[in-house]
């Protein structure tokens, strides 16, 4: 096995090159894709190498996803790019009432091999309408799969699986992570949807995360190690289907857990994890499960306010410490 260091963007583009070469029915549809190889340069090389299969659209999100749904129903494997994940709001019917339900409503007659690629996340001073992390909305919709990778290697392995999957997949990539580098295996590989990864072994507390939350946990685990707290990191990678087995076996070992995500707190995926964990492991837990998340406000523009709203490494450290030092008051 040979490894190279790639950015998340390069990993994405490499994966899509491989998939588009392998399968002629794969194509990419969205706004402003060809001029600069995607808004973030994330599709580098694809406009040159597949000029007929990466296609600029009018600013018509409902039509973009509609074309995705209709072509998925009729033999193609579309990837639609939503420019900023915030614009899912402009095509919610196509995503939620159509893509998610068509196979089921029609009694399983058809497949819906659609990938919806959504760059999300805050921290670039883009304010309230360009900074959201909305993955939990889609987890709540039966019929959609939800993938939120963190490291470049995960991006590559998961997008390939998403493209090959016969169901609609919401694929969220944090825009702050596009330039993050990481080792990516040269030989072809897939990462199955619904498989979490234990990315750091530890015995004191389990940090459950995905997407940008992973990097917060990585930093936090180093700091915690200096304080004699040995954190285990479970990177979920896919929220739906969810790999609860990996979460449970980790918490069985550590008996404490903290959930970490960039989306805001209330109704976030952390809440779902807390519910599942207490159902399975109530007797075993040594402390309440803590959630680290963004503040429950739209993202403000001014830097210090935005930084204040976003979850930070220190929040993860604090939550882990409080879990470890928790003593029952009754």
């Amino acid at each position: 096995m040979t490894e190279r260091i790639l950015s998340a963007s390069a990993a994405l583009s490499e994966a899509l090159h491989e998939e588009m070469k392998r399968d002629e029915t794969v194509f990419i549809l969205g706004e402003d894709l060809t001029a600069h190889a995607g808004l973030f340069g994330q599709f580098k090389g694809l406009p040159e190498n597949f000029p007929d299969r990466i296609i600029d659209t009018p600013i018509s999100e409902a039509a973009i996803v509609g074309v995705g749904v209709g072509s998925a129903l009729t033999g193609m494997r579309p990837i639609v790019d939503l420019h900023f994940s915030d614009f899912v709001t402009c095509c919610m019917d196509e995503l939620v009432n159509q893509a998610a339900k068509i196979r089921y409503m029609f009694g399983g007659q058809v497949k819906m091999p659609l990938v919806v690629w959504c760059p999300d996340g805050a921290g670039i001073r883009a304010a309230a309408q360009h900074s959201q992390s909305l993955e939990a909305w889609f987890v709540h919709v039966p019929g959609l799969k939800v993938v939120v990778p963190s490291e470049p290697a995960d991006v590559k392995g998961l997008i390939k699986s998403a493209v090959r999957d016969d169901d609609p997949v919401m694929f969220f990539q944090n825009k702050n992570l596009f330039s993050r580098q990481g080792p990516v295996q040269k030989e072809e590989y897939l990462i199955p949807l619904g498989k979490a990864a234990v990315k750091r072994q530890g015995k004191d507390v389990t940090l459950i995360c995905y997407g940008s939350g992973y990097y917060l946990c990585l930093e936090a685990a180093k700091i915690l190690a200096g304080q004699n707290i040995d954190a285990e990191i479970v990177d979920l990678r896919t929220l739906k289907p969810l790999d609860m087995d990996t979460v449970i076996s980790s918490i069985k070992k550590t008996r404490r857990a903290v959930t970490v995500h960039e989306a805001c707190l209330t109704g976030g995926f952390g809440a779902e994890l807390c519910a599942l964990i207490q159902e399975e492991l109530f007797d075993l837990l040594k402390a309440p499960v803590k959630r680290v998340a963004a503040r429950d406000v739209p993202m403000p523009f001014s830097p210090a306010m935005e930084d204040f709203c976003m979850p930070k490494v220190a929040d993860v450290v604090e939550a882990a410490r409080s879990a470890v030092s928790w003593t029952a008051s009754r």
């Binding site: 600069h36 018509s60 039509a63 709001t89 001073r125 403000p300 001014s302 204040f308």
Partner: protein, 322 residues
């Protein structure tokens, strides 16, 4: 109809102010002093100033991500705008909005919008409320050629026309939507021809000619105020700058931009018009530009001297009754 010389001079002045604001904002953005993204309206001043010059103080305007010009044209305060771009507590939105989300409800500006065409459904509500409240106000929504392809535009234009709402759809067709040229995304050259499908007037206007913009807008405003319903005005113009500041612009050549800068600059055209008519001379012109520069300098100092919001202020303003 002959236009009043003093007023034309004032509108020229306002175009110069918009241009100066945009130029200075671009410089401070390049210097890293303005966070986030800014989208400049350089070259589109005849549209913003021309349309807003036909409005009363209590008329409504909704603008876009490229909204600085519309704000200034409707009478926004340069200091509070600048402070908002700089993310300061004294800005229009206390630093919560930034360039893409400025508003001044006290002068009828119902907000800039970061969602393309996001303002259009809302303008229908403003128009409907005018009708319900039986005032003589009108409501203007600026939007781009790119925005014209959102499906909500269809819903709103039909509804506004069938309900005869007092709305002016002010389309600024600047030929580009981000990296996408009009011909790639739009089946017609004149988007205003779509108005026929809604049984409302649709007019093509030389959007870099202030007087032509005013003429079309005055008619549309008159129609709206007299209860006859909406008009779609298509101001043909050109986006001189990149989509956002810092846009690498690999999709177009300078040769395409140059004629718009040299021959078709709305400010130069108005200058020529005013000089030919003996309304403006070079000395007055220099003073207009100097005064605009001084006003901007003052606004920048105001912004820079203003405090940033405290981080915790991020939690304020979400609900009236939390």
């Amino acid at each position: 109809m002959a236009e009043d010389a003093g007023m034309l001079l004032e509108l020229y002045n306002r175009m110069v102010t918009v241009r100066t604001f945009e130029t200075v904002a671009g410089e401070y953005f390049a210097a890293g002093e303005i966070p986030g993204f800014i989208h400049l309206s350089i070259g589109q001043e005849a549209s913003s100033v021309g349309v807003c010059s036909c409005l009363q103080a209590d008329d409504y305007v909704i603008t876009t991500h490229r909204g600085h010009g519309h704000m200034i044209a409707k009478g926004a305060d340069l200091k509070r705008m600048t402070a908002e771009l700089f993310g300061r507590k004294t800005g229009y939105c206390k630093g919560k909005g930034g360039s893409m989300h400025i508003a001044d409800f006290s002068i009828g500006i119902l907000g800039a919008n970061g969602v393309v065409a996001g303002g259009l459904p809302i303008i229908a509500g403003a128009g409907f409320s005018i009708k319900m409240r039986k005032t003589d106000q009108v409501a203007v929504c600026f939007f781009g050629d790119g925005a014209a392809n959102r499906g909500t535009v269809h819903e709103v234009m039909n509804l506004a026309s069938v309900w005869k709402l007092p709305i002016i759809f002010a389309l600024e067709n600047n030929q580009w939507a981000s990296t996408t040229p009009l011909e790639v995304s739009c089946a017609v050259e004149d988007i205003s021809c779509r108005a026929a499908g809604y049984n409302m007037p649709g007019v093509v206007v030389d959007g870099n000619d202030l007087i032509a913009v005013r003429k079309a807008t005055l008619e549309a405003v008159e129609r709206a105020r007299s209860g006859k319903g909406p008009t779609l005005i298509e101001n043909k113009t050109y986006r001189i700058r990149g989509h956002f500041e810092g846009d690498p612009q690999k999709y177009r050549a300078q040769a395409e931009i140059t004629p718009w800068q040299e021959k078709n600059d709305p400010i130069k055209r108005m200058y020529d018009y005013l000089v030919t008519d003996g309304i403006l001379d070079e000395k007055m012109n220099l003073k207009i530009w100097d005064d605009a520069a001084a006003a901007l300098e003052e606004a920048i100092s105001y912004a820079k001297d203003s405090p940033f919001p405290e981080p915790e202020e991020a939690l304020e303003d979400l609900f009236v009754n939390p």
